[in-house]
């Protein structure tokens, strides 16, 4: 077996200059919030690492996450798959189909046993193995099989990370997240519907570069992208502070960029980097384009009330609860009240006139 060239060698042999390479490292470092002082070390690490084998499994998904990855501008997909990783199995992008495709997966698993990175998009249905199969195998079986030899697992997209859309009520297929099935491997969740392109590529790059997973929050999301909520970093935040809100789409406030809180923006409870890195080479992000944040990087955001319902508005059902409570309260109150009235009138009926003779105990 021939020695595999390192990333550095591979880049240089493709005519990528040292300067360009350092530029890549700088970009990667800034995206991953790494101190500039570490860039030489990052470069060195990259230069000496053979391309990381990556197996990408797709389960109950819409391919939006893969599409998003193709929109990544830095590191972009070409750079990623040609220079940084070896994408050994990926339904949407790989050349081989059928048995050949499964063979590619088997070989990658064998050659890189214990070392490959497993990326998953899509949730896994547990209610019936027949709800989602690939090459006749259930999603769960494939996941468990591939995860066994993986160094780490990256759950890309809210479906893989938290169950996402298939898990939305009433979860007809019994969909679960990767972390619900894999408990013995390091897992990074990269949620979003889809995740911001550069977040997917950067997290993979981070692992390849440093050989360790990035620091995570309580939901196993990388802090470098999910450390702050959208509201805090939103350019419309000052209007929130001032109490200036768009009341309707296309009203004066909407045109002037006032806060979209009243139109249902979920920015305050959504941890993601949309307001910082934005989308599609920093062209825009949903709030900038006039629509409130859907909260897509949060678990169960599909069931978090209507997308146009302000965050402080309770989920539907209050009116029903209140009407039942009023009836219940009235019924209980009337019963209690009548009981009180009866008690009191009994006390009155049994009233014995107090005369001076009654003022003392006998």
């Amino acid at each position: 077996m021939t020695k595999q060239p390192t990333i550095g060698e591979s880049l240089r042999s493709q005519g990528i200059s040292r300067r360009e390479f350092m530029k890549f490292c700088t970009t990667a470092a800034s995206l991953m919030a790494i101190s500039p002082a570490l860039i030489p070390q990052l470069a060195k690490a990259l230069e000496n690492t053979p391309r990381q084998s990556v197996i990408w499994l797709s389960f109950q998904e819409c391919t939006g996450c893969t599409e998003s990855l193709t929109r990544s501008h830095a590191p972009n997909l070409e750079s990623l798959i040609f220079n940084t990783i070896s994408l050994d199995y990926h339904h949407t992008l790989q050349a081989a189909s059928g048995e050949a495709a499964e063979l590619a997966r088997a070989e990658a698993m064998k050659a890189n046993n214990g070392k490959y990175l497993l990326v998953v998009d899509g949730s896994i249905p547990l209610a019936n193995p027949g709800y989602s199969t690939i090459a006749g195998m259930s999603n769960k079986d494939i996941l468990l099989e591939v995860a066994q030899g993986a160094k780490a697992v990256i759950a890309v997209g809210t479906c893989a990370a938290f169950g996402g859309l298939p898990k939305a009520a009433p979860n007809p297929t019994g969909a679960v997240a990767v972390q619900d099935l894999i408990t013995d491997k390091p897992i990074v969740n990269v949620p979003g519907c889809p995740p911001i392109p550069i977040v997917i590529s950067s997290v993979i790059a981070h692992y390849v570069t440093f050989g360790v997973l990035p620091q995570l929050d309580g939901l196993k999301r990388p802090l470098s992208f999910f450390g702050q909520n959208i509201h805090d970093r939103c350019y419309r935040r000052p209007f929130y502070e001032r109490g200036w809100f768009a009341e309707s789409f296309d009203d004066e406030g909407a045109k002037q960029g006032w806060c979209l809180y009243k139109l249902g923006c979920k920015g305050p409870v959504t941890y993601n980097a949309c307001a910082i890195f934005k989308w599609n080479d920093a062209v825009s992000f949903p709030i900038e384009a006039g629509h409130g944040c859907l909260g897509c990087s949060e678990p169960d955001f599909w069931d978090a009330g209507g997308f146009y319902q302000a965050l402080s508005v309770p989920l539907t059902g209050t009116a029903t609860a209140v009407s039942y409570a009023m009836v219940g309260g009235a019924a209980l109150g009337v019963v209690g009240g009548l009981l009180n009235r009866q008690k009191k009138s009994e006390a009155k009926q049994h009233h014995e006139v107090v005369s001076i003779a009654d003022l003392k105990r006998t």
Binding site: G218, P299, L311, P314, A325, G329, L332, G337, R341
Partner: protein, 220 residues
């Protein structure tokens, strides 16, 4: 349960439950009270008492006369700051207005967040001094029972968690927000069954006191 599920739970089922208990409790307690009846007035009254009742309901919002103020200034000032702060931050903070609009159908303008922030701090400070006062002032120390401390805690927590959530102190915002909402829900559930019900019953209390006094020609 992750924090989103928790937040959804407090915004959904828990809120519905709390609202239901609040409504049920208030209805129950009001009916319980109303069925107790009121004695009839046979004395030749100096006024029918209606205006006087209304006047007392309103007038006791105003600061008392100097003699009274002098003697109870601390509880009056701190009480005012707490209540005003509590109600301003509750009724004039934009997200709360939206919530109330969704429940009541009416809306009004709010105050800028920094103003609410300062008011909340003042209110919190007032509450803390009220608590200290409760510990150290002999009368309050003597009077206070479990319910008093419980009520204080339940009124304090929404302000406190609201403040923490707004400033992202300690816990992630959604979790803090969920705790904030939960604290309000606990307040709502407990309110009808504790002295916190004075939020509503003070009207009847002031009314009857004021009306009876007005019948005698005294403005109280």
């Amino acid at each position: 349960m992750n924090y989103t599920e928790f937040l959804l739970w407090v915004r959904g089922p828990a809120f519905h439950f709390a609202t239901a208990i609040l409504v049920l409790g208030l209805t129950l307690r009001f009916l319980e009270m109303l069925f107790l009846g009121s004695p009839r007035q046979y004395a030749a009254v100096r006024s029918n008492g209606i205006a006087g009742g209304i006047r007392t309901v309103i007038s006791r919002f105003a600061p008392p006369e100097p003699g009274v103020f002098q003697r109870s200034w601390f509880i009056i000032v701190a009480g005012y700051l707490f209540h005003l702060g509590f109600f301003i931050s509750f009724f004039l903070f934009a997200p709360h207005i939206i919530l109330l609009k969704s429940l009541l159908g009416v809306s009004w303008p709010g105050l800028p967040a920094p103003v609410i922030n300062i008011i909340t701090i003042i209110s919190l400070f007032a509450m803390i001094t009220l608590l200290i006062n409760r510990w150290y002032y002999p009368v309050l120390r003597f009077l206070s029972d479990f319910e008093d401390y419980l009520s204080w805690t339940l009124a304090f927590l929404p302000l406190f968690t609201g403040y923490l959530a707004f400033h992202h102190i300690w816990l992630p915002y959604p979790l803090m927000l969920a705790l904030h909402i939960l604290s309000v829900e606990i307040l709502m559930i407990v309110l009808p069954f504790t002295k916190l019900i004075h939020t509503f019953t003070f009207i009847i209390a002031r009314w009857t006191n004021g009306a009876r006094a007005a019948q005698k020609g005294v403005q109280v």
